[in-house]
Amino acid sequence: MKMDGMNHSGHDQSAGMKMDGMKTPNYTHALTMEKMAMGQDVSGVDHSKHSHDMSSMKVDLDSIEIPMDMNPTLPQISVPKKEGPQIDMRATGAKYRLDDPGVGLRNNGRKVLTYADLRNLYPTRHEPQPTKELVLHLTGNMERYMWSIDGITFDEAPPLQFNFGERIRITFINDTMMNHPMHLHGVWSELETGDENHIPRKHTVIVQPGAKISYRVTMNARGDWAYHCHMLYHMMGMFRRVQIR
């Protein structure tokens, strides 16, 4: 893991990594992070965690946080993918950016709440671990205004099928230059913030441009559920049917 003086979180400490120049992130230019993500992987730095510095670290068993990428590699759920003119770019260096306020809200002199500030009021450390991972790429072509998931639109996509009761880790990689708030109906989206003991529950999870984000879902509601980007103009491309049987 290379450290280029970028955002280093406390979680890495718990993983026994040494680091210098710990700083809070500086998202100076509106699209800097996205550009980095769209270009090569400029550093191996993980932006997944809170931006607190070391002084705010508590030595408290409840708050020991496991870095997201330290999750054991889970068996991957395979989904169809398609390449073509419907995809204009790829995020080759997508990072977790939970503490990034997002384009237009950075460095505006105010405290902007981010996903990194979300904390469940109730302990979640006894929640079961996910057994499989589903990785989905949010894809599109701005110029043509075409939107898809893994290059495939809703009308061409088979449903995503899950067994009742199973716990899945879903990771989104946003290959586009726009935000996509992804809404999975019927079940909770439990956002990985790095704090295993206070995982917040959400309906809709925003995936920032060029970023990735992970959450866990227990498939505990039988039926067919809509899973889609909440932007009206993206919705019919970035849409999937989820079947829990």
């Binding site: 073509g84 003119p85 419907q86 995809i87 204009d88 072509n141 110029e143 043509r144 075409m146 639109t153 809703f154 009308d155 061409e156 019919m236 491309g237 849409f239």
Partner: protein
């Protein structure tokens, strides 16, 4: 003649491959859309103030569109135009292949072409259109490229280059073989809204070789610099 037929055959084969390799999108996701762009509608300061236009319209869905393009010039009731009816299909991130028919008119004569070309966004944001034209008498190549420099979100400078080349002389259409004509232009528009923008500009039209001879025979000049004023709008 033999090569003409080869090109037409090749065009036909490429078209049929491209048309059959399609998954047809269906449903509300991919609505039927239409677009009309009057990219240029302008008057120039030359004798009798020629009016010229350049318009594009299309109807279609994400993967299949039908284009109608028209450009030309009218002076003293005499009109010359180049028109194309094209099927358009995305083949690359920023590129569409387009094929169909071309129809050129002069006050004296008309001619029809088979047309195949590429339209898209070249690296560094050059909006580009390159077509090859063929009929039983001639081959043509037309290239059109422009760049939009945004001084502000509303004040936009557009340098453009247009280039025409042909394989054979065709006096009745005023086309000479080789590089036939070029147009270099610089237009500055102000977008009162995205859809409505008046502009002023300057353009340099140059003809070469036999084309220049045809122009001079009609009393024209091989090199003409004009000041233009016009409107750009779309809906």
């Amino acid at each position: 003649m033999k090569t003409t037929h080869k090109v037409i055959l090749r065009t036909a084969i490429i078209s049929s491959i491209l048309m059959t390799s399609q998954v047809h999108a269906a449903g509300e996701r991919d609505p039927l859309l239409t677009y009309f762009l009057m990219d240029k509608l302008e008057i120039s300061n030359q004798t009798d103030n020629p009016v010229s236009w350049d318009a594009t319209t299309w109807i279609g869905k994400d993967w299949h569109k039908l284009y109608l393009k028209s450009e030309g010039e009218s002076v003293n009731g005499k009109t010359e135009s180049e028109n194309q009816l094209l099927y358009s299909h995305p083949i690359e991130k920023f590129w569409d292949v387009q094929m169909g028919l071309g129809y050129d008119t002069t006050p004296e004569k008309n001619q029809t072409w088979g047309v195949i070309g590429l339209q898209g966004l070249a690296p560094y944001f050059f909006e580009t259109n390159a077509v090859v034209l063929a009929n039983d008498k001639n081959f043509g190549f037309r290239l059109d490229t422009e760049y939009e420099a945004l001084f502000t979100q509303k004040l936009i400078l557009t340098p453009s280059l247009k280039l025409n080349a042909y394989a054979a002389d065709d006096k009745s259409m005023g086309l000479g073989s080789g590089l036939s004509s070029t147009e270099l232009a610089l237009r500055l528009r102000y977008e009162f809204s995205r859809k409505f923008a008046p502009y002023i500009g300057v353009k340099l039209n140059q003809t070469y070789g036999a084309t220049a001879d045809y122009v001079k025979a009609e009393g024209g000049k091989e090199s003409v610099t004009s000041i233009v004023a016009g409107l750009r709008f779309w809906f």
